[in-house]
Amino acid sequence: MGAQEKVTNEPNTTKTNATQVSRREFLGLTGSGLFVFFWAGTRGFSQETARPSQRFGYPEDFNAYLRIAPDGRVTCLVGKIEMGEGVMTSLPMMLADELDVALDSVDIVMGDTDLCPWDMGTFGSLSTRQFGPILRKAGAEARAVLLQMAAERLNASVERLNTKDGVVSDPSTGNHVSYGELVQGKRIERHLDKDKVVVKPASALKIWGQSPVRRDGLDKVTGKGKFAADFVLPGMLHARMLRPPAHGATLKHVDTSAAEKIEGVRIIRDGELIAVLHIHRDVADRAKSLIKAEYEVPPVTLDDRTIFDHLLKVAPQPRVVDESGDLKQGEKLSKTIVEETYLNSYVSHAPIEPHSATAAMENGRVTVWVGTQTPFPVKQRVAEALGLRPEKVHIIVPYVGGGFGGKSASQQAMEAARLAKITGQPVQVLWDRSEEFFFDTFRPAAVVKIRAGIDGTGRLTLWDFRVIAAGEREAKSFYDAPHRRTTSSGEWSDENPELHPFAVGPWRAPSVNTNTFARESHMDTLARNAGLDPVEFRLKNLSNKRMRNVLQLAAKQFGWKPAEKQHGHGYGVSCGTDTGTYVAMIAEVVVDEGTGAVRVNRVLCVQDQGATVNPEGTRQQIEGGIMMGLGYALSEEVRFRGREILDRNFDSYALPRFSWLPKIESFLVDNPDLPASGCGEPPIINVGAVVANAIYDAVGARVLQLPMTPARVKAALPHT
């Protein structure tokens, strides 16, 4: 069996080294049972394991564990968080299936730094894709241990025993024993060796593939579910921070005298932080508005129109992502060469829950309830900000009201914790919408330049793709082109103040929306040049089987392409890959040539994500990805002047709304024997291109810049 075993009847109380000490911190109260410790493989871990100091003495030999308690309940403890994707439902499903226990006997404890072992964070569709398979193995390991124990107890060979609903039974004798009875009075610890444990075949899974009610459902429809600002503590102060008018602005003069005159107002100045606090939020708001502040604002050198030239000018050296054949040769073979530049603007995450945190300091220890995707890194930053030892910081992540990549830095946690320490009272920080836009780490503005050629038969001969400032994820094309090169210059993750006038960061499927919009728009133009239907042209240049399959299925399900269409109606297609998942999308739009306004009537999505754990959860992600995608496709862009953000609320920054809702159809290709890949990001990646291509089909306007606002559509209309 692939594990080291340690059985003691009483928990060992001798402190031998730092690892055991801190392990006891969160295992101390858990008593007896079977424990399986394991590594949830997360990208970037190898880097983090090389720096154990970053994990503040948390055990270094595991980052998640499960426990089977004497009452038969199974608990999985992991530092991941739930922000709407449904992982608190899908992860217990996987575990229950491997363990042969009822789904409702599995609990999951997430995002609490006192209870859960260290974890890097929740992002990149990783929870299901990378954590899930290892969680299954941990379940399989636990089941194997329990079977072995049952064999001894029932005096039977393991092969003879069955497991069902948390009970091991011997069909030949009728003897049985429950998991809880087996671990009674014992403490058994196992460390998973993931290379030596085999999980059940897909055909043996029963819960996998079902669509149970979401575990967070009741909390969310009753309003009982708590988000970070829903912790209301006795004596709690509401803090409002003085904010600069633009990034990089320096405070020259501040006069808080008028604010101080309001009864009960406290003004705290701590380094760069100037905060107004009051027990009532609206009094804190009013007091803040009375502060007179003068700033020196950096000179305006850029705005949302000039940014693209700037990016091209200051972009770092390109990196070759993919190269094959010889571009010169490709040019010679090309009958037609099409060259184009695609642009996309800065886009905001705009979760409906703004950044918020509630902090309380008691006996030298601070507890922070915070909406974040990264509780453990936040713990470290809070400890540093307060000058506390890490064990004096407790981060609790309750429900998170949407993240989409934007809730990692979590500056509000440090603000609340610092102010709680200074005032000695609990403090809540709930950013207003203007702060939310100002401090957002936007999806970067970016430029993609493509030069591609086809021969007389419509085969790709040349593919030269250069992405600037978006990042290289999925920049490499999956279409067959013998002579090709892909380069990427500047990543969204680079801290490069030269490139962007404010912070940028990961936004649902980072890089991929930009790269897919450009590639699939260009493929459409090439198809027109080849005189081929866009689906036919793609298939002609596509040997990847899974991609061909989703595209063909999409065309069939949609009824591609209607022989007749009404005036102003158009149909578009787009293909993409993300986190190992293959997606094809087809859309129908109506364009008003007079105004340039676009209405998306129907979107069909076919997704191949390998095995599907929770089909209902996946459909929610597809529908959500399509709706969210319509925003970056049609309306969402952050306007700015210099380092001042102009869009600060939903009046000028337009999110998709009910009146936009198209008919959405989703189809999943079931590949139960392939590993489950990501499903949170892939459905959004095609939305820009599928709409762009449908607009072209409708009115002949090739829009090269996202978002495709009415003005941009009108400007792209062919002149008659």
Binding site: G84, V221, D282, G401, R433, Q620, G624, R657, F658, L661
Partner: protein, 155 residues
């Protein structure tokens, strides 16, 4: 001006010593402990703070205590009766008409006000009525379906 302000909250008479100008959203959340009503934008642009006042959906971030004095206010906490979820809550649950859930109380209360006025709305009426309730996770399809189903049950 500080005075005694009385209103009906989730069916119960409620009195507060307060100023007329105090924002209903903050009073609900921080004085009355009803944190199901959420802050989203502060300018009546997103609908996360929607509550029902006298059968009308209103934005609690743009409604003062003075505005609701003597009136009846319903929040998400007052929807379930005797432990039984309101048909809209049940329908939202059945349809998984949410992901992160932050906009959900406001969505349900907007829908509640719609069904009070228009018990059998068309899909178009639902979309129009719900248009100012924003959802970033994109649960719109399911919200429409849930409202249709709740309406059907009442028919």
């Amino acid at each position: 001006m500080r005075r005694t302000i009385s209103f009906t909250l989730n069916g119960k008479p409620t009195s507060l010593e307060a100023d007329d100008e105090q924002m209903l959203l903050w009073v609900l959340r921080y004085d009355l402990g009803l944190t199901g009503t959420k802050y989203g934008c502060g300018q009546a642009l997103c609908g996360a703070c929607t509550v029902v006042v006298e059968n009308e959906a209103v934005r609690a971030c743009a409604t003062t205590l003075g505005d609701i004095a003597g009136k009846s206010v319903l929040t998400v906490e007052g929807l379930a009766q005797e432990g039984k979820l309101h048909p809209l809550q049940q329908a939202f649950l059945r349809h998984n008409a949410f992901q992160c859930g932050y906009c959900t109380p406001g969505m349900i209360l907007s829908a509640y006000a719609l069904l009070r006025k228009t018990p059998q709305p068309t899909e178009e009426q639902i979309r129009r009525h719900m248009d100012d309730n924003l959802c970033r996770c994109g649960s719109h399809t399911r919200v429409v379906e849930a409202i249709q189903e709740a309406a059907k049950e009442r028919a």
